[in-house]
């Protein structure tokens, strides 16, 4: 289900009504506008279904025991999903093979570490489109699938080269199917931060790194030669959000977060809180602090407008419930949030 259209529906409607255009063009525009409208309604309904289903006490039956992983090739267009690749794991296209392998590993990470079956915990197919757009400097989750640009080979290189990027995008799907955070204000910053936290954890898990040896950088593997030439080594640094080596430096205190901020900016304080908690406790991030964050994300149903202080208090509560016999966990969580003024 694609929610992106190259031609906006309003333009299609105008084209359909333009008497200067040939009848067949007007008909095609009208047909496309009608389909676009219906798909948009379908998406809204799907989001409502997600919300209702997640509130049921009995989970919806699993689609599959483990998710299928599919990869499509957009061939440098913005038409989604693109051409399906029959055997992405065996192709000579490095982007396709990497996307398949890393997405499969993200599925394994969520299954083995958190007991989650795919994005929706029901075996949802993990669908990715690669070579999206022309030298496209972005990757994103569009509500139903991941898409990755190739980068311009100057500021960025192929976005599939960042395993934390792949983990980040898939986690947006997990958030959509759990807390359902809106993408603005505090909730937006939390949404972004959760993707950074789980993207970084996935990267550390793949390397079997502990919190002390991890670099806590986001996007370090997709920075291109021009960026590196200017000593920009990452998109963000969870351990040092305001660092000059970041492409987009962030605030470090919750008091600096105000309504209307871009979520990629306001995610700084919760990123630093998570990193500080992990470093304070020591060991591997996904073993205890990651479990607290995961339970806080998935264990309480939707809370679309959640504020950062509420999430902080929830993690304190969850740490106490899950690791009551190990007070160092709760202490580390508390230290993390206190470091950012919460």
């Amino acid at each position: 289900m694609c929610t992106c259209f190259i031609v906006p529906r309003d333009i299609l409607t105008k084209l359909a009504q333009d008497p200067l255009l040939p009848p067949e063009i007007r008909k095609a525009a009208a047909d496309t506008a009608r389909i676009a409208h219906e798909i948009r309604l379908l998406r809204i309904q799907a989001l409502r279904l997600t919300s209702v289903a997640s509130m049921l006490e009995t989970p919806v039956s699993a689609l599959a025991a483990a998710p299928a992983v599919t990869v499509y090739d957009c061939k440098h267009t913005q038409t989604l999903p693109g051409t399906p690749l029959g055997s992405p794991e065996g192709t000579e296209d490095d982007s396709a093979r990497r996307t398949y392998e890393e997405t499969t590993k993200v599925a394994k990470f969520y299954k083995d570490v958190f007991g989650r079956n795919s994005i929706d915990n029901g075996g949802m197919t993990m669908m990715s489109s690669i070579h999206y757009g022309n030298r496209f400097n972005n990757a994103m989750w569009n509500g139903s699938q991941m898409l990755y640009g190739d980068g311009d080979n100057s500021i960025f290189i192929d976005f599939t080269k960042g395993n934390d990027v792949i983990g980040h995008e898939l986690t947006h799907g997990v958030t959509q199917h759990s807390l359902q955070l809106e993408y603005r204000d505090d909730a937006g910053g939390l949404n972004e931060s959760l993707s950074d936290c789980f993207g970084s954890m996935f990267r550390q898990w793949e390397k079997n790194q502990d919190s002390a040896s991890a670099d806590w950088l986001i996007g370090s593997d997709i920075m291109g030669p021009t960026a590196r030439g200017r000593n920009i080594t990452c998109l963000r640094d969870m351990a040092d959000p305001a660092g000059a080596h970041c492409l987009a430096a962030q605030p470090t205190q919750y008091s600096q977060v105000t309504p209307g901020m871009d979520p990629h900016y306001s995610s700084g304080p919760p990123n630093l809180a998570f990193c500080t908690a992990c470093k304070t406790l020591g060991g591997k991030s996904w073993e205890k602090i990651g479990q607290v964050w995961y339970r806080s994300l998935t264990g309480f149903g939707p809370s679309p407008e959640m504020k950062m202080p509420d999430f902080a208090n929830r993690t304190r509560q969850v740490a106490s419930q899950m690791f009551g016999g190990t007070p160092a966990v709760g202490g580390a969580v508390d230290a993390g949030w206190k470091a950012v003024g919460l």
Binding site: T3, W141, T175, R184, R236, G260, M261
Partner: protein, 117 residues
Amino acid sequence: MPDGKLWGCSDRNAEVAPERNQRVDRLEIERLGGLAGFGGPGSRIKSKGEVALADLSAADRQAVADLFDKKTSIPPPKPDAFRYRITRQTAEGTQTIEAPEDIVPPALRDSVRDTLE
């Protein structure tokens, strides 16, 4: 935007500088957001461009007018998607809106160039 507030629309009926009065035939475009946080207050990556209204198709000109007149329904923002800040000069002053990538005509989206500061 030093405070980092990047969301929503604004009509800035500020006094129009003389040199900007000469640019009424052009749109200024800035790409924002994305995974990398383009154009944020702490960001070193900017993406800007300009488009001459005369270079746009009639449909694109109408689409832009509808965006400014708030006749286009705005879909909810999607994680890591780009959005575009579009500025135009009118007889009343400068007007700026922000719109998600999905509803911005490709001619405007393609006008920007990414640069590091």
